[in-house]
Amino acid sequence: GNSDTGGSSGGDDGKITLGFSQVGAESGWRTANTTSIKEAATEAGIDLKFDDAQQKQENQIKAIRNFIQQKVDVIAFSPVVESGWDTVLKEAKDAKIPVILTDRSVDSADKSLYKTFLGSDFVKEGRLAGEWLVQKEQSASGPVNIVELQGTTGSAPANDRKKGFAEAIAANPNLKIVASQSGDFTRAGGKQVMEQFLKANPKIDVLFAHNDDMGLGALEAITAAGKVPGKDITIITVDAVKDGMQALADGKFNFIAECSPLLGPQLMDLVKKVHNGESVPARIETQETTFTQEQAKEALPNRKY
């Protein structure tokens, strides 16, 4: 090895170098997340090496290996999936580069492989959505028919939001999921699936969509079927992107559980701390909230993304 030649790329000017591997740019949410991180890095004076994995775990592993070669000071990444990081994280650890996870955790048994996790809890988002519905329908006497628009089959947010929601609505036996399909997190997918839901199920009371985009697509299907979204069908989604918030403020959605992408500043703080060897909590959840229609009207003007 020629470990002397590399050196931390930014070492000379005392800047911290952060290698960050992003999942991809598969949604507006993700783009906002990337933008936030880039802006925060510039602001914090951190030298950012950004890599886009295009939704492939293999690419992320490659990127991390290359970060190790480049001897960055800190590595951060949003894992595409939970499993399968031990080997490469071990390599990072051997190279004495601290690792921060963002947005999504990993399931390594060896917790020493990464310093901390910063991100949201998808299960919790699902649960919040479910709890709001249980609250709203607590007085319902008859059965309440729910349809669910899942995210991409097999993806973590889809699995977890589904799980959290199901757990929450179990509290009220009247709440029943009558149909659940994947809309691939896209508007077109949401619309197409909802069209069929509407035809197959004469009575739909509630729609739970795993993200705003599918909800927005479904809106169109609902309108085309001659129903009034937000009234005839209660719509609950996750994310709170701008278009979604607009729909909520307009009364077309009923509830959104936020999943904030703006974790750049928090991340940069952590990077500095970790680089200085300060101890950090093992798990930091992004500050997230939920929105009802009224809250949305208030919040909408200052929404960044």
């Binding site: 590399g6 890599d51 490659k62 290359n66 499993s83 031990d86």
Partner: protein
């Protein structure tokens, strides 16, 4: 550029024409690597090269299998999904507590079996490979999500060892066991293609399957064999991937078949079949790997620029390769 013309001067006299594409690829690959070294200091670390192999070992194995198929003029779209399914099944069975050896056996059988079935359908019913293997792709991917909607970690000792064993200097430069396995597969494949009847029949069928049939060659058997081989390679690739990621994930390897086909074709194998080498495929995989590495080293591209630049580099590479090919035809 001087390297190019030097090589060219020599090739004109001695090189058989069929080696030109592969050599052009090799030269361009070196140029690409040179660009990396000149741009980024850490790029010259030998470990960077090793990493390209470590990170693309499974891709290489799958591409070798695909080379067989493409040489016969066929195509196998199912490989990405079969890789995922193999990893998924391994992870699942290991979680169920089966012994590693048995799991390995089962996992290695799935790919070839599926390949064999697809080969039979292609041959006996005379259905286009594209569509049969597309159905195979749906099937294998469907099996993945069917087994589990979320990723399954592997904690088995054997797998962990295979995954984390470093060959070479454990704290310096090293390769993984997967790389050795990949090289072994490459060697076996190259030998098979060059020195066995099966290999030569593969070329003959790719040249003209009708002629091959009339020449009394076992066209059906060979055709089924290549899809089985491709399935086997995908299975080995799947195992390597499960070493690599120590898990099975339902969505892993989506679109891998395109990377694999691209690697094979960049390596100089002609899609209509009949001409190409495993060595070219190795180069093709390396080209994709080095492009990827270059982009990570750059670290300033945002998501969409990443795609545009990958496309651009691919284009530049293929254009040069093609132009050199034309000149020395």
């Amino acid at each position: 550029m001087t390297t190019l013309s030097l090589l060219a001067a020599r090739t004109r006299s001695r090189l058989p024409r069929r080696h030109v594409p592969v050599l052009a690829t090799l030269v361009l690959l070196l140029v690409l690597y040179g660009v990396g070294v000149s741009q980024y200091r850490a790029f010259s670390n030998i470990q960077v090269v090793f990493n390209v192999f470590i990170d693309n070992g499974f891709l290489l194995v799958v591409a070798v299998g695909m080379t067989f198929v493409i040489l016969t003029g066929g195509i196998d779209l199912s490989v990405g999904s079969v890789v995922a399914m193999t990893a998924m099944v391994s992870a699942f069975l290991l979680r169920e507590g089966l012994p590693a050896a048995l799991v390995l056996l089962v996992a290695l059988l799935i790919g070839p079996t599926l390949g064999f079935l697809m080969g039979c359908v292609i041959h006996f019913f005379d259905i286009q490979p594209f569509i049969v293997t597309l159905a195979g792709m749906f099937f294998a991917r469907g099996m993945c999500t069917f087994i589990s909607g979320s990723s399954i970690p592997i904690t088995d000792g054997f797998w962990t060892r295979m995954s984390q064993q470093r060959i070479g200097n454990p704290s310096g430069n090293f390769v993984s066991i997967s790389v050795l396995i990949a090289f072994a597969v490459v060697a076996v494949a190259a030998y098979t293609l060059a020195y066995t009847r099966l290999g030569r029949n593969v070329y003959a069928i790719g040249g003209n399957s009708q002629s091959a049939l009339l020449m009394g060659l076992p066209v059906g058997r060979t055709r089924i064999a290549v899809y089985t081989i491709s399935g086997l390679c995908a299975a080995i690739g799947g195992i390597l991937l499960s070493f690599y990621t120590l898990s099975g994930a339902p969505l892993i390897g989506v679109g891998m078949e395109l990377d694999v086909i691209a690697a094979v074709v960049i390596g100089g194998t002609v899609l209509t079949g009949g001409s190409g080498y495993v060595f070219g495929t190795v180069l093709g995989v390396l080209v994709l790997g080095v492009i990827q590495t270059l982009i990570t080293f750059d670290g300033s591209l945002n998501s969409w620029w990443t795609k545009i630049v990958i496309g651009g580099l691919l284009f530049a590479f293929i254009l040069l390769q093609r132009l050199i090919g034309i000149r020395y035809k």
